[in-house]
Amino acid sequence: MTAAIEAEDLTRTYQIGAGTVAALRGVSLRVAAGDYLAVVGPSGSGKSTLMHLLGGLDRPSGGRLVIGGRDVSTLTADQLAELRNKTIGFIFQTFHLLPRTTAVDNVALPLVYRGLSTRARRQRAAAMLGRVGLGHRLGHRPSQLSGGEQQRVAIARALVGGPSVLLADEPTGNLDTATGDAVLRLLEELNREGVALVVVTHDREVAARARHQIVLRDGRVVDDPQR
């Protein structure tokens, strides 16, 4: 089975003023199709940087990265954008919903960049919102939704394009324990239906739920215990 994402010796360095900062210093991992992986580490360990690379939102400074069977070093910016649109679903700690837009239009956003008509987009978005249990909240704006509901809208948005990988960066970070738990259960349910799930977190308990864990410290993998 081809892996959804394959990363070999990834590095990412930034120029800050006169010097350079190495956020990642050679990370390798493999996200198999349908896998459930946690990337865990303290803040500053480079886990967000890793997630951005795995999602094709950023380019590595070195190393080999293959997403959805395509080597990112061969792709233009526009091609990467298309890859993100079709293969990846992002879920952020702060949800990143468009504030003046209804839930259904928020979920439909990725389909805009696929050129679908408004009606087709809204149909698929409504179906996805139903899947995450918010079929009755289509016309609500984010300010009218609770934190947990907002994250579920974000999950629906991540799913609407039929991606092969969901990348969740601290998905429960802004939620209370009970709500966060419900969100994780939803994500795990979706994972069982076939989409690979990578959860980036600093919380060991959250990380322990995954099938595999990768521990990062200072931009390097320090531990890779298999469950």
């Binding site: 951005h52 999602g55 939102l57 950023d58 910016a77 526009d78 954008a81 298309e82 993100r84 649109n85 079709k86 992002f90 952020f92 702060t94 990143h96 468009l98 003046r100 837009t101 956003l109 990725p110 805009v112 960049y113 696929r114 050129g115 008509s117 408004t118 948005r157 394009g161």
Partner: protein, 394 residues
Amino acid sequence: MRLAEAARVAAAGLRANRLRSGLTMLGVIIGVAAVVVLVAIGTGTRQEVERQVSGLGSNLLLIFPGEASVTAAPTVSRLTLDDAEAAARVVGDRDRVTVQVTSGETVRAGTNSEFTSVLGTLDTSLGVFPRELSRGSYLSRSDVDTARRVVVLGSTVAEQLFPDRDPVGRQVTIAGVRFRVVGVFAPAGASLGVNRDDQVHIPVTTAHRLLGTDRIDAIAVQAPDRTRIRELGDRIVAELSQRHPETEFSAVTQEEVIGVLGEILGVLTGVLAAIASISLLVGGVGVSNIMLVSVRERFAEIGLRKAVGARSRDIGVQFLFEAVLLTSLGGVLGIGLGVGAALITAALSPVPAAVTAWSMALAFGVSAAVGIIFGVVPALRAARLDPVAALRSE
């Protein structure tokens, strides 16, 4: 499809902060309105001037010494009545030719007096420059031949000197010399800046004696055939040049006058429009400014859109559209405001204003262009944003 979506998103973006969008639009609205009004005034003035010149008769030919150029210095006239007679011979009809010599003098009647323009002219004047008389009759050929001291008063002068009596048959003095009033003009208004009601006509021969000169300022001809008017003008000028080899003469047709005036006023209109465009430019800068602020405020949104698959081009188009929508809407409102102001100006003041379809189309085009030009920088800023940095800025 993506364009329709971009338009929808742009409209939503503007609606998000109505006050800010409205205030930014105000700059464009005022700029466009200013351009529309000033162009309307320029156009209206030109149309009015052309109308007045046309009203003089399309067969009119004016002959005077010197170059027919706006920038040339006036030439001292050495034309005399003999030259006018020579011109009449070229034309072949004495009744179609008249002359003019002007001087400013005081006209008195009893205790009333008025400083006015005294025109020495021929009996044929009414034929070449038709005007209506309200009383009495015009100068006659015999008046001219005998240099009779008779005068026809303009309506303003008549009212000033004889406020409650019929002036015909009464005496006035012009520059101290006694004249008899034989006629009064009906009010005619201004023509090409000359107030024809503040004038008096006397025979040119009498004027020569009064003013101690024998010069003529200009010869006017009603050409018998419009299609050969240029040729006639050239022949008259040739004849006069022969008689006065040291002087250059010009023959100007009414069409040429319209042409020159039209050109001058066209340039003037262009200058007015350019000045008004400065305010539109300022409005455009305001749009640029606000769009940059808007982009900065929406960094996270831009990052998110890129994360879900928007290309740089999609983001750039989105923000450019917003700017163009803003200025185009401002353009439409500005055109409405400008047209309204032009119509009010034309109705309530002596300043003419004519709104044309092309000027409105041009104003709209310019407002859209302003949106594109001033929206490019913010749009590029948004398009080039690094999505990772953008998402972090929440």
